[in-house]
């Protein structure tokens, strides 16, 4: 196996790609949703109207690829480790919202996100065990 192949099948690399793709997927979905936003149309609540936007389709692709990477990491890493690390997406998504989408995120929202992250770190181990059993 070449060095590049060995680097690619490393589960931590896969996890990083999974997290990055997940963040990118959320951003794309948001951009696509905003482009097809139509508050007057009652059907827009179902989100199906979002399928008109190419951004949404790229977002769907990114989510699917992220899922494949997630499965690849779970082959080598136990869920009790992979799941807490994957929660870094809760930091990456608001950060990229601020940088890419230019959303104004007040201190109160950051505090709430920090609390969610702390709570997720606390429940990560038992929740991952539960998810494996479920």
């Amino acid at each position: 196996m070449t060095l590049l192949q060995r680097w690619f099948v490393n589960p931590w690399v896969q996890l990083s790609i999974c997290v990055l793709l997940g963040t990118v997927a959320e951003i794309f979905l948001k951009i696509g949703a905003v482009q097809t936003a139509d508050p007057a149309n009652a059907w827009s609540w179902t989100g199906l109207t979002g399928l008109r936007s190419t951004w949404v389709w790229w977002g769907i692709l990114a989510s699917v690829l992220s899922l494949f990477n997630w499965l690849a990491t779970l082959r080598k890493l136990p869920l009790t480790i992979a799941f807490p690390v994957a929660n870094v997406v809760h930091i990456l998504v608001p950060l990229s919202c601020w940088i890419v989408l230019g959303e104004a995120i007040l201190a109160r929202r950051w505090l709430g996100i920090a609390l969610v992250l702390i709570g997720l770190t606390i429940v990560a181990k038992p929740a991952a065990k539960l998810e494996e059993r479920l």
Partner: protein, 88 residues
């Protein structure tokens, strides 16, 4: 006869559960997009942390796992965080 009856029941059961899971996922995905049309992503995304609490409750109900102190404290902290985000 009895064994085949049990086998076919569990296969139908598995297919139904699997289809229901896929349907639920599809509904979640599209309502997601619908909600994103109206709210900021940074407002909306932290609510996904609530799904972990639901997993814990489902484990307690389906698997009869006990809700440890760690789980309840963590769930309360997550809920507080979500409430804070929803107020911002």
């Amino acid at each position: 006869m009895d064994i085949t009856a049990r086998e076919s029941y569990s296969r139908v059961h598995a297919i139904v559960v699997f289809a229901a899971a896929i349907a639920a996922f599809a509904v979640n995905f599209f309502v997601n997009i619908g909600l994103l049309q109206r709210f900021d992503l940074s407002y909306f995304f932290p609510f996904q942390g609530l799904s972990v609490i639901l997993i814990a409750l489902a484990g307690a109900w389906v698997l009869k796992e006990k809700l440890t102190l760690r789980l309840t404290i963590g769930s309360i902290i997550i809920s507080l965080g979500v409430i804070l985000v929803s107020l911002s």
